[in-house]
């Protein structure tokens, strides 16, 4: 009796499963994000399913800091998702390895026409100049200041990217702030994000570039002679000195010292996303400034998490439709805007007064067209960023910057050599 019940249950379950498989298209969407972001993507998936009967969207969450490891695991198990979120500097590696397909034919034309230049650049593979990924957003890093403290030391407050602080001004202010009552640390550079995080390459790389060097030579694709050149050593030594002087919030003190009670940190070299939480606590006391000019020219980062369709997808058309749907979804846009999301689509920029002329983050938006430099679009990027993180940790804790950068450059070049120069990158010249 019990047995018969059980077997009939199994039978119905099996039947409904096959019935579902027959006329349902399933797409898997791999993504990262904080709990609110995960919920937002879940809501998009539901809305998409409601509008497209016969489509089943399954979201797969992978944590931010281990995202690439999780993706590699998916590759090895031959279980690539259909749609995947990826960090822009890793795009070259993924396309070179053959995981992604050109996305232009799959995305609605109005969305493609809506992309900002910087958004197009971050989704383009430099070898075939084709578009492989698209995002609603872009990103940048700015210098946040505490208005009260800045007024107390009589600092000049830049109003445009062109009159950013020079290195002398910046370091002079840091010194003055360090002696000011109530300031425990003159600046937070968000060491609290950890030492194994893309933040390091993303936010500190532009300091090297502004000082006149780079992570790797972008024509010969060699790191030795560039990353260990005097300009880079000088830049890393400069940052090391800030840390040595006790000017920088230490790693273990967290990431909220800028807006925590009594504002222990006076400045914050923070991502655009930091504005939402800081402004919530500090209201009008927050000043948004461009990144300082450490050398002849200014530099700022760009690139963020963008969406791509994998080569192995069985339903690339549905996958593309989902991406288009998500980027246009009203509620998803509202959510991203609530996180002070940095617009990567023109229509989204129009909906974001924060970044428009006169908005609090207008300077952040100005940086995109004036100083933004993408991280090297090169398949060796995973090694480049890992080696640079190692060097920065070494230097910030008192190690010799020259030795640390030399070791990093060697490691990067070794990886390139191991991969025969990542053809066709090597044969371009």
């Amino acid at each position: 009796m019990g047995n018969r019940l059980l077997s009939s249950l199994i039978l119905t379950a099996a039947m409904s499963a096959t019935a579902q498989a027959a006329d349902t298209k399933v797409i898997h969407v791999m993504h990262q994000g904080d709990p609110a972001g995960v919920a937002a993507i879940g809501a998009v998936a539901k809305a998409f399913e409601a509008e497209n009967p016969g489509v089943d969207v399954e979201t797969i969450y992978a944590p931010h800091d281990a995202y690439n490891e999780k993706f590699s695991a998916a590759v090895m198990a031959n279980q690539l998702p259909d749609v995947m979120e990826l960090d822009a500097p890793f795009l070259a590696n993924y396309v070179w390895s053959g995981y992604l397909q050109p996305i232009k034919p799959l995305i609605d034309k109005d969305v493609l026409d809506d992309m900002t230049n910087s958004n197009i650049v971050q989704g383009t593979y430099p070898v075939d100049k084709d578009l492989y990924a698209i995002g609603l957003t872009d990103s940048t890093v700015v210098l946040y200041g505490n208005r009260k403290y800045l007024e107390e030391i009589g600092a000049r407050i830049p109003t445009s990217v062109d009159d950013a602080w020079t290195r002398e001004e910046f370091e002079g202010y840091l010194e003055k702030l360090s002696k000011l009552d109530g300031v425990k640390w003159p600046i937070d550079t968000f060491r609290g994000y950890g030492i194994k995080t893309e933040w390091i390459t993303y936010a500190y790389g532009p300091i090297l570039q502004s000082s006149g060097c780079d992570l790797i030579d972008r024509t010969t694709w060699k790191s030795a002679g560039t990353l260990d050149a005097d300009a880079c050593v000088e830049a890393l030594t400069m940052m090391q000195t800030w840390v040595k002087n006790g000017w920088v919030v230490p790693q273990s003190a967290g990431t909220n010292q800028f807006y925590a009670e009594n504002n222990p940190a006076a400045l914050a070299l923070g991502g655009h996303w930091f504005y939402a939480e800081a402004a919530a606590a500090m209201k009008d006391d927050i000043v948004v400034m461009p990144l300082p000019k450490f050398g002849a020219k200014g530099a700022s980062p760009n690139g963020t998490w963008i969406w791509a369709v994998t080569k192995t997808s069985e339903h690339p058309d549905v996958a593309g439709k989902f991406v288009s749907f998500m980027l246009k979804d009203k509620e998803y846009r509202t959510f991203i805007a609530s996180k002070s999301g940095y617009p990567g689509l023109k229509s989204f920029a129009a909906e974001s007064p924060l970044y428009a002329a006169g908005g609090a983050m207008a300077i952040a938006y100005e940086q995109a067209s004036k100083t933004a430099i993408a991280r090297p679009p090169y398949p060796a990027y995973p090694t480049i960023t890992s080696a640079f993180m190692q060097a920065v940790d070494e230097a910030f804790n008192g190690g010799d910057p020259k030795a640390a950068l030399t070791a990093a450059a060697e490691k990067i070049d070794e990886d390139i050599e191991d991969n025969d120069g990542y053809p066709p990158f090597g044969d371009q010249q």
Binding site: V75, I195, K196, P250, Q251, Q390, D393, E394, E414, D418
Partner: protein, 314 residues
């Protein structure tokens, strides 16, 4: 030492009559019962083990790449031995082992002695002392990460309060001088429960008659401890020492969660180095070479330890 040997081998040797039909049938039966275990062990333990030797001599990437797979002999090993970071990692693991052996085994031994006494709520207490060991290391790390916070975490506040503000806050996990020590503290606390159970079992294995005889001979408590308990625990000591050393060399989780090898590589460990090479930099061949080296090191240490302890008549 023969006294402690297990009785199984002698039983097996008992008698071996000429092979008969029923004997062959029995062999077949034994073989068929062994087969699943042997097959699974071969497939998931022995084959991968030898595969890693092979992979270590190639430029195998983590995931398929357009570059061809090449046999590169010992290039990976040469590179590892030329990498300062590898030596730092090895040195760190040795430091960790050197500290954790006395702390963890001492703690485990002391609690085992305490909980071996006849006292009320003994079983309840045993369970409580074992609790950290069944708590996930990840959870322990997150909790201890909060305790270690700088400058206002609970540990620093307690230190400041007890010393009347004399001791400045310590950056437990952010100071290269302190980071490894902090990891030792939390690791010992999390894992000592296992060694404690082993010691408890060892203590229970010492026959009461020996204690009674010692008492009749007029031995006091200290003498009974040194001349009955300690000799009776020798095999346990060997086991605990070996297993703790091997575990210490495989230090990874705590480091991956709390310090990611920093600050200034002061908590970089061999396994963390291996994972970084294999999964972040996607060099599977290189990572396999590290794993082979780690295997050899652990094997040598285990053999040396056994020999040393045997010399002390264990």
């Amino acid at each position: 030492m023969n006294m402690q040997q297990s009785p199984v081998p002698s039983l097996a040797k008992q008698k071996r009559p000429a092979r008969s039909k029923s004997d062959r049938g029995r062999l077949l039966q034994e073989a068929s019962m062994l087969a699943p275990a042997v097959l699974l062990l071969t497939l998931f333990l022995i084959v991968p083990f030898f595969l890693s030797f092979w992979t270590a001599m190639t430029n195998q990437p983590l995931v398929p790449r357009p570059t061809p797979l090449r046999f590169i002999w010992f290039t990976n090993f040469v590179r590892i031995f030329h990498d300062d970071l590898f030596w730092t990692a090895l040195w760190n693991v040795s430091r960790f082992t050197f500290w954790i052996l006395p702390v963890q085994c001492g703690l485990a031994f002391a609690t085992a002695l305490l909980l071996h006494q006849k006292m009320p709520f003994r079983n309840l207490l045993r369970g409580m002392f074992f609790l950290p060991a069944i708590t996930s290391m990840v959870v322990v790390c997150v909790i201890w990460g909060t305790l270690f916070q700088y400058p206002t975490g609970p540990f620093n506040q307690i230190l400041g309060f007890v010393s009347g503000g004399y001791i400045q806050p310590i950056d437990w996990l952010g100071d290269p001088e302190w980071a490894m020590f902090s990891i030792v503290l939390l690791s010992a606390w999390q894992a000592y429960g296992f060694q404690m159970i082993v010691y408890l079992a060892g203590l229970q294995g010492i026959p009461d008659e020996l204690y009674d005889a010692a008492r009749i001979d007029g031995a006091n408590a200290v003498q009974r401890f040194w001349h009955v308990t300690m000799p009776g625990l020798r095999p346990t000591h060997v086991f605990v020492l070996l297993i703790t050393t091997i575990q210490a060399f495989k230090l990874y989780t705590q480091v991956a969660i709390l310090t990611q090898g920093g600050p200034k590589s002061s908590t970089e460990t061999v396994v963390h180095y291996m994972v970084r090479a294999g999964f972040e930099e996607q060099k599977m061949g290189y990572a396999s070479a590290v794993s082979v080296i780690l295997f050899v090191i652990v094997l040598i240490i285990a053999l040396v330890q056994r020999q040393l302890l045997r010399r002390f008549d264990v």
